[in-house]
Symmetry: C2
């Protein structure tokens, strides 16, 4: 089959690799219907994180089950599934606590999952899924006829990562009915954060964005205000919209020192920053400032597996349409172009079809 | 009147200063019944923070109102009151949000409260209280006869700071019915954190302490386990008591780099650190670790004013007896000895009577 590898910064290649096979009783093999490129894939692409040797890449996919191992009980060949961006058992203490990203037996796509063997990256044609019952969500079980309309593909794919991650930012920031919310970051996760905040009942949602097309999606998703300024001016603009004190909840969806600083300063005393931007080698958090303001910082790598059922229900009912974050679709053969389009900010998020 | 000043590290003096007078319509003057020395008073005493010029010190007191200004509506001469460790209006947006430590017009004892003038430090005989209606809690209103028994004095005094601060750690850490809780720090705040966790329904409470007398109070307050180890061994000991994963909630009640590290590593994935230890010039928080584990950090300077009514009800009913943290009582004339006793850890907390 064909699958994507990263060899070095700027060097993305589609190559022929061995087809995956069932190797434990808990495995499934899934034929990918759609995958995509994540903002976090850009860190190695840009050389911000080092690629020491070539490896498979991609961690968001949806598809159709081709085969399952003897121990799999919730899936059969032909079922349409959503995979979260990691592998998890669904049964250990951390999974039961809702932190399946810290699963005691799970792991990550494109690498070895402990002693369960290699799990393919998602930017390919087929993926071997260890711990299939715990990892995959069976969409067919929620659908008459078992298969989703093609128009649903983008929104279903967002449940693999960005919509669940935006939701995690909002939940971590404590967004509730009537909250004032500021969202730092206008990438796919930030936009999904706006949508998640709206879904949770936020009363005022301030999208911080300088990009016209993204501002338009933010407004469509529920943003009541857009702030273009950054730094001190951005803080002042948020305060002016929030009674002079700052937002109840701030969603940090970037992961840089500047974005976290913006988030911390945009929250009101006693407010909360929900952070999901992958911290890029730092920064450290200024605890004395947090002490003085009682602004808490909660979040991390989003345990999206647990969020998929509730978000899926809203996608299927048409209540939310997070697939709007995809503004470019390419065949898998052009995966290298997909990276370039996102790197150059010509695309917010690129959907890939094998 | 007599009041305490710090002149330099190790140099605490009781001196004669002018009696306070009513200077705004919202003022009260309170005669101190009891005050005490705070763990945070030890930072300048030890020279860890610099004392550039001599200043009044102390921020915890209870007492009897001597006089009130014309605009005060909730207090009259003779009322017994608890003062939180800061001055607040009770009416601004931050006070209404429960973050009265960020009051837009308030300030701190022993210093100028914006344009409202100087508020005396608490380790003295009399204190001028600006914003008296917002700041002071009228205990007389809850008591037949209006005055508390002498036996209640220590517990009432803890509501000025340490009991409310321990409660803030527990609330910030999300302690609820059945939570597993670890408490880092066995000073008065840590011990009150144990009591607060018990009061909120925690199922298992692990006190981290190497000090026998403090361990005994921790057990009396509700600790189910004591861990003497620190560092890696301490983390392992907490995990062994919490199903191998760490505690749901960790209360950080010290404020050093080592104690925060202990707290972060003692929490389970997805758990929460509630921090109230005054960060002593740092440390910064390791955000990449927080990202990977989803351990959130919430807390800060405790807005105890808002907690006093509910905690007072439990003190008056006898449900909690936080005054047990006082293990030494001295006359105000011996205030310098009180600092030395706490510095040398001969006393957990010293109560002072003018």
């Amino acid at each position: 089959m064909r699958a994507t590898l990263i060899h070095a910064a700027g060097d993305i290649r589609l190559e022929t690799v061995p087809d995956p096979v069932l190797s434990t009783g808990g495995d499934a093999v899934v034929r990918v219907t759609a995958s995509c490129v994540c903002g976090s894939d850009l860190w190695p692409f840009r050389g911000v994180t080092e690629t020491k040797k070539a490896h498979r890449i991609g961690h968001e996919f949806i598809g159709v089950v081709e085969a399952v191992g003897d121990d799999v009980t919730t899936l059969k060949a032909g079922d349409f599934v959503i995979a979260p961006f990691y592998v998890c058992c669904g049964e250990c203490a951390n999974c039961r606590n809702g932190v399946s990203t810290s699963c005691l037996t799970g792991g990550w796509w494109g690498s070895d999952v402990r002693d369960l063997g290699f799990a393919d990256g998602a930017q390919g044609e087929l993926v071997r899924v260890p711990l299939a019952d715990g990892t995959l969500v069976n969409v067919s079980a929620s659908l008459d006829g078992g298969q989703p309309d093609d128009a649903l593909i983008p929104s279903l794919l967002t449940l693999a990562d960005v919509m669940g991650t935006g939701h995690h930012a909002a939940v971590s920031a404590g967004v509730r009915e009537g909250s004032t919310v500021a969202v730092v970051g206008d990438g796919a996760v930030g936009l999904c954060g706006v949508l998640a905040a709206k879904r949770l009942g936020a009363g005022r949602i301030i999208a911080m964005s300088r990009h016209e097309a993204r501002q338009a999606i933010a407004r469509e998703f529920g943003a009541t205000d857009v702030v273009q300024e950054r730094g001190d001016d951005g803080v002042e603009a948020v305060r002016a919209l929030t009674g002079g004190i700052g937002a109840d909840a701030v969603l940090e969806c970037v992961g840089t020192k500047e974005s976290m600083d913006q988030a911390l300063r945009s929250a009101r005393p006693g407010g909360r920053v929900g952070f999901v931007g992958v911290p890029n080698g730092g920064p450290e958090l200024p605890i004395r400032t947090m002490f003085g303001t009682n602004v808490g910082v909660v979040g991390g790598v989003a345990p999206v597996r647990g969020y998929i059922p509730e978000l899926l229900a809203d996608v299927l009912s048409g209540a939310i349409d997070p697939g709007r974050v995809f503004d470019l679709e390419l065949p898998l053969a052009e995966v290298a172009d997909a990276y370039v389009a996102m790197d150059e900010r010509r695309a917010t998020k690129v959907l890939l079809r094998p």
